[in-house]
Amino acid sequence: MPKAGSRRSRRRFSVEAFVLLPMALAGTVALAEPPLQPYAVVGDSIPRPLTGQPGDPDAGRRIVADRQEGLCLLCHSGPFPEQPLQGDLAPALDGAGERWSSGQLRLRIVDARRVSPGTIMPSYYRTQGLVQVAPAFVGRPILTAEQIEDVVAYLATLRR
């Protein structure tokens, strides 16, 4: 069936134009935003770090206190005497390192919905299944894998 075949190949070409062009455009975004690291959930924990490098607790503290980056103090309070405006929608971060293991903290940052489906706590390491995301944030998690490891390292130091 030469006729049908040629029609099919023409159609395939046009379909490819539709599929490949956005993929090429998305590729430019993907270059800037590396894909998410795979992780394994064990119980209520992600025992293995998301990166090969250990997190930096000082960098983690800066991220937690930053209202544009970590956003943590919008809902949580914590040992940040220099930050007068802290939230009370969520438990205080004081003593978080005593209450949770690093793996438990990691899952609660990466995807708190796994632990508590109705929680107001955003999933910090997620790019799929989101609605109406602002263009500047499409395909980007709230924090990178490195930043999450920094925050986990910092929270682990919080003991009463």
Partner: protein
């Protein structure tokens, strides 16, 4: 073994003994209610609070007095525009509507309202622009432009103190349902819904700012943060940006549905327009 259910007669006997004189009880209760002001009586059953209730005395005073309420400047400009003939028709608002103090009394409290030509609800700003294009033969004013805010503030001022009164009409129901679903839909990079903050956490501190219950009783309003008057849609866009969601365009149907749902939830609450908020 399932627990035996109490028989109907026992329940009846119980209720009969506890309210032996139901008429007397009703009289006592209604006398007690009459001793309260209407506002106090409403508070007995109504847990809804305007953003006003979360503000301190200085901001309340600023709102209450026209001389200190900065939105009065917008309202007075609106009063001037109301009387200005414009467009190819060379007509002013006043030419058709007369004195806004009487003709616009209670109007803003009913908006968004169903519009038969659009076959859907439109908000006050859209209503004003519809008048301009259809009757004054003038161009529509841009959303959030000074003149549109001035006119909507002037119109809304005429409803101050009157109860919000979104019509319970069947035509509005699908749009109310859409507004309700948008209110509960998680969105943006932070994947939050309006309800998670404004229903579940109202009164709590979001980074130092008290979360209100989302009753739009005072729009257009003067916000200290804005250093100016803004519409409800501007406020909704701020929330969406905070959730890292792409805000709908001004005038989008989704916004009007959301406005309608919020105003419907606030039915019966007094209008404060133009309010003052932090």
């Amino acid at each position: 073994m399932p627990m035996p259910r109490p028989s109907a007669s026992t329940t009846y006997e119980k209720s009969r003994t506890s309210t032996r004189h139901p008429l007397a009880l009703t009289i006592i209760l209604s006398t007690a209610l009459l001793a309260l002001s209407p506002a106090q009586a409403a508070n007995l059953t109504d847990n809804r609070r305007s953003g006003y209730a979360f503000m301190g005395p200085p901001l309340r005073a600023m709102q209450d007095d026209d001389m200190t309420n900065p939105a009065s400047l917008w309202q007075r400009d609106g009063e001037t525009l109301w009387a200005e003939p414009i467009g190819e028709a060379g007509r002013s608002c006043a030419d058709c509507h007369g004195d806004a103090a009487s003709s616009m009394r209670g109007v803003a409290a009913r908006y968004p309202a169903f519009d038969r030509t659009m076959n859907r609800p439109i908000d006050l700003e859209q209503r004003i622009n519809h008048c301009r294009t259809a009757y004054q033969k003038a161009g529509p004013l841009a959303f959030e432009s000074h003149d549109l805010l001035a006119l909507s503030t002037h119109v809304a001022r005429q409803s101050r103190g009157l109860p919000i009164a979104i019509e319970n009409s069947k035509a509005l129901h699908p749009f109310l349902a859409m507004g309700r679903s948008l209110f509960h839909e998680r969105q943006g990079q932070l994947n939050l819904s309006c309800a998670q903050c404004h229903d579940d956490n109202a009164g709590r501190s979001l980074g130092g700012a008290t979360i209100p219950q989302a009753h739009p009783t005072g729009y257009p309003l003067y916000r200290l943060e804005w250093q100016g008057v803004g519409s409800l849609q501007r406020r909704l866009r701020n929330c969406m940006s905070g959730m890292r969601a792409a805000p709908y365009a001004f005038g989008a149907e989704a916004f009007v549905d959301l406005e309608l749902y919020l105003m419907w939830r606030a039915n019966g609450m007094p209008m404060e327009s133009p309010a003052v908020r932090p």
